[in-house]
Symmetry: C2
Subunit: 475 residues, 2 copies
């Protein structure tokens, strides 16, 4: 469809899926439902509908490298998808505004579809049908929201109440009456019965020009900020200006900031399945439990346990006599929660943050463009990693000022640059990189290169690295 652009919001932290999600590995990157990550499923939902060069992913500066690498698994099309980087996460109004001013420069007639990156929608055909319907409203200068027809009295979602009847003869669109906060069960039941209440999906469609006019009217300070950024886009000031202006913008959702105030909002009563999987418990709505009511993954021994989510990893998780529980095991952290407390996981994350730990921040295995590394143990003056490098990939040419590294190859062949030397290290061979020595590790072979790295030094944090050359633009 001409002028149609997709804006995928992928800046969220998703603390409610800790310990699977981490600040630097948020919910949208998880493969918890279906065969692929939620973000990549979101992109696939646009296949044959919106070309990759019309897809923009909004994320934070901090997440951008990982999101970029994460998207690369989409293949050739990944290179055509563009990232819009927020200096830091605000809320949906600034994020959508930022995307709008970027799109406006590319196509002043642009119609933007806004989608969260971490929801589940399986019925792609019906989803795309909804977009077509929404477009007819956007073209008549409306802001269009997607309302999901409720199939149960859900108390975890916000609702949209619409006027009875179509907003105009022959249209499936309805005029929005009001946004409704998460209701109690009794209200949710009455909404379900009434028939003119829909779940607020956070999916929107509108002309870029229209949303910017509405922002100007209802959030004039945001509009001023966006204007300043817009003028800098494409210039050498772009990054600096965005970096100065954006963090000062008011952190508000587009629902509160604009949609609730606008007179021109229509709703598509969408018929596709939709779930925002807002917590571990919500997996029950999108995954099929077994005969005991359990959803199992990984290394779990279950004895007399029922109606529980039991996600193990390599380690053994033994669940004995559990009822209505969530157990999620990762190499460095295990969550055990009663299902009705699953939302409180954020308090664990708060606690870890407060105590200066890093289990809320990163996983023990960290994905990198060239492969991954896993911290096997960290102690005083040492750290042990298993480093995996994909065939043909190489780490940056780098130097550490505080640590030496011993490398033992356990599979594949390593090409090692150490000072002026270049040599090869094979399985069951080792080499040593002294402190302050320029070095580079590369997999010149056809199979995975795996090395065990033993770091020694006074200071053994990740930030002791100076990069001189890098295939992935990290110099």
């Amino acid at each position: 469809m001409k002028n149609l652009f997709a804006v995928v919001l992928a800046g969220g932290a998703g603390v409610r899926f800790w310990p699977y999600s981490r600040e630097l590995w948020p919910k949208q990157m998880l493969e918890i439902v279906g065969e692929d990550s939620l973000l990549r499923q979101t992109i696939h939902r646009l296949d044959d509908f919106i070309p990759a060069e019309n897809i923009f992913v909004v994320t934070t500066e901090r997440l951008a490298p990982d999101i970029q690498y994460h998207l690369s698994a989409l293949g050739a099309k990944a290179k055509r998808i563009r990232l819009i980087k927020e200096p830091l996460g605000r809320n949906t109004a600034p994020a959508i505004g930022l995307a709008a001013v970027h799109l406006k420069r590319i196509d002043p007639e642009a119609i933007m579809l806004v989608m969260p990156s971490d929801h589940v929608i399986k019925d792609i055909r019906s989803f795309q049908e909804g977009i077509r319907t929404a477009r007819s409203g956007a073209e008549e200068e409306f802001l269009v929201t997607f309302g999901i027809k409720p199939n149960k009295p859900e108390t975890g979602y916000g609702y949209i109440e619409v006027e009875a009847g179509s907003w105009k003869e022959g249209s499936a669109l309805k005029k929005l009456r009001r946004f409704v906060e998460k209701p109690d069960l009794e209200k949710a039941k009455s909404y379900l019965k009434a028939g003119n209440y829909f779940w607020n999906s956070g999916i929107f469609l509108w002309r870029v020009s229209k949303i910017l006019r509405e922002i100007e009217q209802h959030m004039p300070l945001l509009f001023q900020g966006l204007k300043t950024i817009e003028e800098a886009i494409g210039s050498e000031r772009e990054s600096e200006t965005t970096g100065t202006v954006y963090p000062e913008l008011e952190s508000l959702s587009i629902d509160y900031g604009v949609l609730e105030k606008s007179q021109d909002v229509l709703t598509v009563p969408a018929s596709f399945d939709w779930n925002d999987i807002g917590s571990w418990s919500a997996l029950y709505e999108v995954l099929e439990p077994n005969a005991e009511g359990n959803i199992l993954r990984g290394n779990v021994v279950s004895v007399d346990s029922e109606n529980s989510i039991l996600f193990g990893g390599d380690r053994i998780v033994a669940a004995v006599g559990l009822k209505e529980m969530v157990v999620v095991d990762t190499p460095d952290a295990t969550l055990i929660a009663s299902r009705d407390h699953a939302q409180e996981v954020r308090r664990v994350v708060d606690e870890l943050r407060k105590n200066g730990r890093e289990e809320h921040l990163i996983h023990r295995t960290v994905e990198r463009p060239w492969g991954s590394y896993t911290v096997l143990e960290k102690g005083e003056r040492y750290r042990i990693k298993r480093v995996v490098i994909h065939p043909g990939e190489k780490l940056s040419l780098q130097v550490h000022r505080h640590r030496s590294e011993h490398w033992v190859v356990i599979s594949g062949t390593a090409k090692v640059t150490k000072g002026d030397e270049v040599y090869y290290v094979h399985p069951n061979e080792s080499t040593y990189i002294p402190v302050s020595t320029l070095h580079r590790l590369e997999n010149p072979g056809r199979i995975l290169l795996q090395i065990i790295e033993v770091q020694n030094g006074d200071y053994i944090e990740e930030d002791d690295i100076e990069r001189f050359e890098d295939d992935y633009g990290r110099v």
Copy 2:
């Protein structure tokens, strides 16, 4: 007291405390209550009462090296305590019989105190007082059992019913009427009220000659076997004979096999505290919970959790909204159980055994006489260990036929023997031991030696080891 010997039964597997306990690290070796292991607390209970050379610990061949090393933490007296080794674990009747024939050779007048090694008794004075009382019965040719005065209607213990009144004028001992199986709550309440019911503690005192006569009468086959073993004790046939005869003995408890049938049983109504801590839940009876009713240990983040046992380790365990739960985390396995299902942990152990795993068998950190090793990761053709060697200790002179080893020193100084060479390796230095090369690792220094060992090979199991010299008798 003259002729008084203690026999500590320490062959049990204690699967009910998995994953803290393992087949090769059973409950008696755990420091779950008090500052020391249950076994060492059991030995300390005899301090200044029974000399160390009169203390015998009965355990299995398989456990014996670890038990021996475990006892060495008792200091000088450990060398005086003797081990009696069962070729494999039977039940208490054969174990007590085996100890009896050993004691009989040392002192035909021996009086033996039989004690489990994994119970909690804090009131040592009252315990020793009980022994004095029991002795008076033993000297009049009775089998004396220790009955614990119940303080609640416990349904998890067997009971002893005694005759009202003393068995003889002026004695605190009572004549045993019958053994009673674990009762239901109603019966337990009536026992508590009746006043002549006691918990069966598994602690006994009798003359060696008397228990052997009773075994002869009530378990003649066991008696025959014991006689055969007795004749071989001290000869070069001892080990072979015990190894042949013992596994064929009937596996029965002394309660069923002898005490229920004997006419000569008295009971000491003991007033000391006693708990057999038969499961994780039983810790509630011997440890003090905090204001939320939780018993916490290690790295735990608790949010809205109550009345739960939450034992973390180095990793983070987050407990959210738990009620009446048991969570026990170890490096390779985590147990999550509802408190009322804590007994079912054995089913997890059965499952692991069936699946050929080893999480029921050993811990990831394995204690050795010279220190310990921790498996950090095991993969195809490699395994990574952190090895810790105490000052002055050394591993055996050994050779592996299927693996090479890379050693990186992270603290201390290593003295390395490799073939004919002897040399030293310091922190941030490494060395390499090729396959089939005789080698030895030693800590000649004053501080802990820690090395990271990366093993490479076709076969990397612990049994690929030939020992040539060993300080700990393992050649």
